[in-house]
């Protein structure tokens, strides 16, 4: 072993307890240089870029680099216009058109179908569902063709801009439980529900419906088909906003209902409202 000088590792020369020596394994030269290079890099970086916190602020760096400024620049209208010219062209067209005419332009509808989906997802989907299918008892279905306030582009736009207040008064204190059940029976018969199977009660309910005490006809119409101007629903179709079971109808009659569509006029731009109008119309239920 001792004869093999070449394989001997050098020691630092320090000796403890007589025979305890310390190997000297220096770092490889390239490693040392890389380390020095990182030190130089760090110092150069401090000089060029924002780096050191200075109490209330920070060292700015001689390059005057700011990520926030670059983001603002990239997000400026001019930059976006350059990046997405087609989008700006479409928006420009839309700003000059009414929702009804947008619906007649197949190219713009391509744009509406994609951007409207995003707007709908951000603003409408939490209540109406991502496909506009609504939630029974809470939020109306926008994909069928039953519209409480009308389904023309102008109606839809008005609903979005101004919101809607649906109000069904409670009748629990005016009518007895029996009378309410009779009215429910009559309403069920209008829609052809299977549970409306008692002709006697149906006849009694019809009388109350058209009588002065409950005056259901005032809002829902003499034929029960509802009045769009009031947002009074059509009772003759099988579309039940609050559910079509007998118990649900009785509950509506007894306690009334209060529906509220908030106004979006202040929250969205004119173009966004137009796009959403056309998009909601195209979900399938527009008139």
């Amino acid at each position: 072993m001792a004869s093999n000088e070449k394989n001997q590792v050098q020691t630092t020369g320090h000796t403890w307890d007589g025979d305890l020596a310390e190997y000297n394994n220096p770092l490889p030269q390239w490693w040392v240089w890389v380390f020095y290079a990182t030190v130089v890099f760090a110092v150069v970086y401090w000089i060029l870029y924002p780096a050191w916190p200075m109490g209330g602020g920070y060292t700015q760096g001689v390059l005057d680099y700011s990520k926030r400024a670059r983001l603002n620049e990239a997000m400026s209208q001019e930059a976006l216009k350059e990046k997405y010219p087609q989008r700006f062209e479409a928006l420009n067209k839309i700003s000059k058109m009414s929702p009804a005419t947008i619906l007649g332009d197949s190219d713009l509808m391509n744009f509406v179908n994609s951007s409207g989906k995003v707007l709908f997802g951000d603003n409408c989907a939490p209540c109406h569902g991502s496909g506009g299918q609504g939630v029974i008892g809470h939020y109306p279905n926008l994909a069928d063709s039953a519209w409480l306030y009308g389904g023309t582009p102008a109606d839809i736009k008005q609903t979005i801009v101004q919101g809607r207040n649906g109000y069904m008064p409670a009748h629990g204190d005016k009518l007895s439980k029996q009378e309410i059940e009779a009215v429910a029976m009559y309403e069920g018969s209008l829609a052809g529900e299977e549970w409306a199977d008692d002709p006697q009660k149906v006849a009694q309910g019809k009388e109350i419906f058209h009588g002065s005490q409950a005056a259901c006809y005032a809002c829902h119409g003499k034929d029960g088909k509802g009045k769009e101007a009031l947002g009074a629903p059509n009772l003759t179709d099988a579309i039940w906003f609050y559910g079509g079971e007998k118990s649900a109808v009785i509950e509506t009659l007894t306690y009334g209902r209060d529906g509220k569509m908030p106004s979006w006029g202040d929250r969205l731009t004119e173009n966004q409202i137009k796009i959403l109008t056309a998009y909601v119309h195209s979900l399938g239920g527009g008139e």
Binding site: L103, D105, G131, N234, D237, L283, G284
Partner: protein, 471 residues
């Protein structure tokens, strides 16, 4: 304890290939000139108002002369790769590593770089001497010129590569006015660096250490594969290699048992990968045939018959015959022709349009006030042609259904290479349906604008969904 003084890696020995003339050198040069002409000139060829070959990445389309390749044609790429692979198997089984020797980019570019080196620094012996010299003004000048020329070729190579991805003339203008987009600069820079490194500095080391093909091409060889080989029985005979003697006739030499090889070493000097072909087959050999040219030159000058080093096969070297048409070769040929045929048929008969149907699943179905069920679909019509075309969409296969295309867009025009999406509503009375799922189809047809006649059509199946409770 054994002393380990030898390192794990052998130091690289620089190869100084000598220039040679002959048939294979001419063939290599010809192929090189054709390949360079194609590579460097193709971006400037125009075809129908645009670049003939253009890989338009942002527009997601490739143009190859009259053909437009859209992303949905990606299957052609697999076809092309398959053909390339089989062609390589075919050629390798037939004639060994000829791809390496004549067509490989590494070979083509190293060859040009070597040619520059020779023009600047002189022939093999002068280069050897120059490298041994201490640095002088002359040496620095020569080296400087050589590396500048190398960099110039590398830069041109890198820039040319990027020209395939944008309008060549416009991109050149951008390069020359320092306005080229960053990706172009980066790509050109990267290719310049790799070309300079690989073709100028690494050269044969790419073939011997980096190229995976060098490692597995042996698997495609058999005893009938054509290889560049030295004929040891003729070169050595019983007495081995012998330098020529003045006045000795060839017949005397043969009778004395002296080999035909005069051990001049020319075949070794010309080899671009620096091997001695007389040691038998080696994986570094790229079968370029330059050693054949070298040996033939010597044989001719000696008055010996040519072909001591030649394209031959293992069978032939052992006195047999080379069988070119063997089952493996024929099998590869059949597969190759079939694949080319399928790809050609697919390209020739490509539909210029297609129709995609996606059911709107949110909501899956809609109950209408009149008791009917409505399903909504999104139809996308792709116009793959390079002109504006008009399409009509319709629905069929569901007799009791009523349908409407949103906005009444039953007919619409689509710009070249673009697509148009329309919504389709389908209503069916559940009483008219047999089950919860009914299959039907949408049809898009291209219509000739003046006549209104159908010229091409594409169909796509769809499903009408009705929940059980309404059936």
């Amino acid at each position: 304890m054994a002393e380990q003084t030898e390192g794990l890696y052998a130091a690289h020995e620089k190869v100084y290939p000598q220039a040679v003339r002959g048939f294979f050198r001419r063939m290599k040069t010809t192929i090189l000139l054709v390949a360079y002409a194609v590579y460097f000139l193709l971006p400037y060829v125009r075809w129908e108002n645009r670049q003939a070959v253009l890989f338009d990445i942002p527009g997601r389309q490739f143009f190859l002369f009259g053909l437009r390749v859209a992303p949905e044609d990606i299957i052609w790429l697999s076809g092309l790769l398959f053909i390339a692979a089989v062609a390589l198997f075919f050629v390798t089984s037939l004639a060994g590593r000829v791809f390496c020797g004549y067509f490989c980019f590494q070979t083509l570019w190293s060859d040009v770089f070597l040619w520059i080196e020779e023009k600047v620094e002189g022939g093999r012996s002068r280069r050897l001497r120059l490298d041994k010299q201490p640095l002088s003004a002359d040496k620095a000048l020569k080296k400087g010129i050589k590396h500048s020329l190398w960099l110039a070729v590398a830069l041109l190579t890198g820039i040319t590569f990027t020209l395939y991805f944008a309008d060549a003339y416009q991109l050149w203008y951008q390069y020359l006015t320092f306005q080229a987009p960053l990706p172009a600069l980066f790509t050109a820079g990267l290719l310049t660096a790799t070309t300079y490194t690989m073709a100028g500095l690494a050269r044969e080391q790419v073939c011997t250490y980096m190229c995976p093909y060098a490692r597995f091409q042996g698997a495609m060889f058999d005893r009938d594969t054509l290889i560049v080989a030295y004929d040891p029985s003729r070169g050595e005979r019983s007495q081995g290699r012998q330098p020529p003697k003045r006045g000795e006739r060839y017949e005397e030499r043969v009778a004395a048992g002296k080999g035909d090889c005069i051990d001049c070493g020319y075949c070794v000097k010309v080899c671009p990968t620096g091997i001695d072909i007389r040691e038998g087959q080696q994986y570094q050999c790229i079968t370029c045939g330059l050693c054949i040219d070298a040996c033939d030159t010597i044989m001719e000058s000696q008055g010996f018959p040519k072909g001591l080093i030649r394209y031959t096969s293992e069978n032939e070297l052992e006195g047999g015959k080379t069988h070119l048409l063997r089952p493996k070769i024929l099998g590869y040929a059949v597969i190759l022709l079939a694949a080319i045929g399928v790809l050609a048929y697919s390209i020739a008969n490509q539909s210029m349009m297609d129709l995609n149907v996606a059911k709107v699943r949110n909501p899956t179905y809609i109950l209408e006030p009149d008791g009917r069920i409505k399903n909504v679909y999104e139809l996308r019509v792709n116009n793959k042609a390079q002109e504006v075309r008009r399409y009509r969409v319709s629905m069929q296969g569901l007799p009791a259904a009523e349908y409407e295309i949103q906005g009444g867009f039953r007919e619409f025009s689509v710009d070249p290479g673009e697509n148009q999406t329309v919504r389709a509503y389908v209503w069916v009375d559940p009483d008219d349906l047999k089950g919860p799922r009914s299959h039907f189809s949408f049809r898009a047809e291209r219509i000739d604008v003046p006549s209104g006649k159908e010229t091409e059509a594409s169909e796509a199946t769809a499903m009408f969904y009705t929940p059980e409770q309404y059936l």
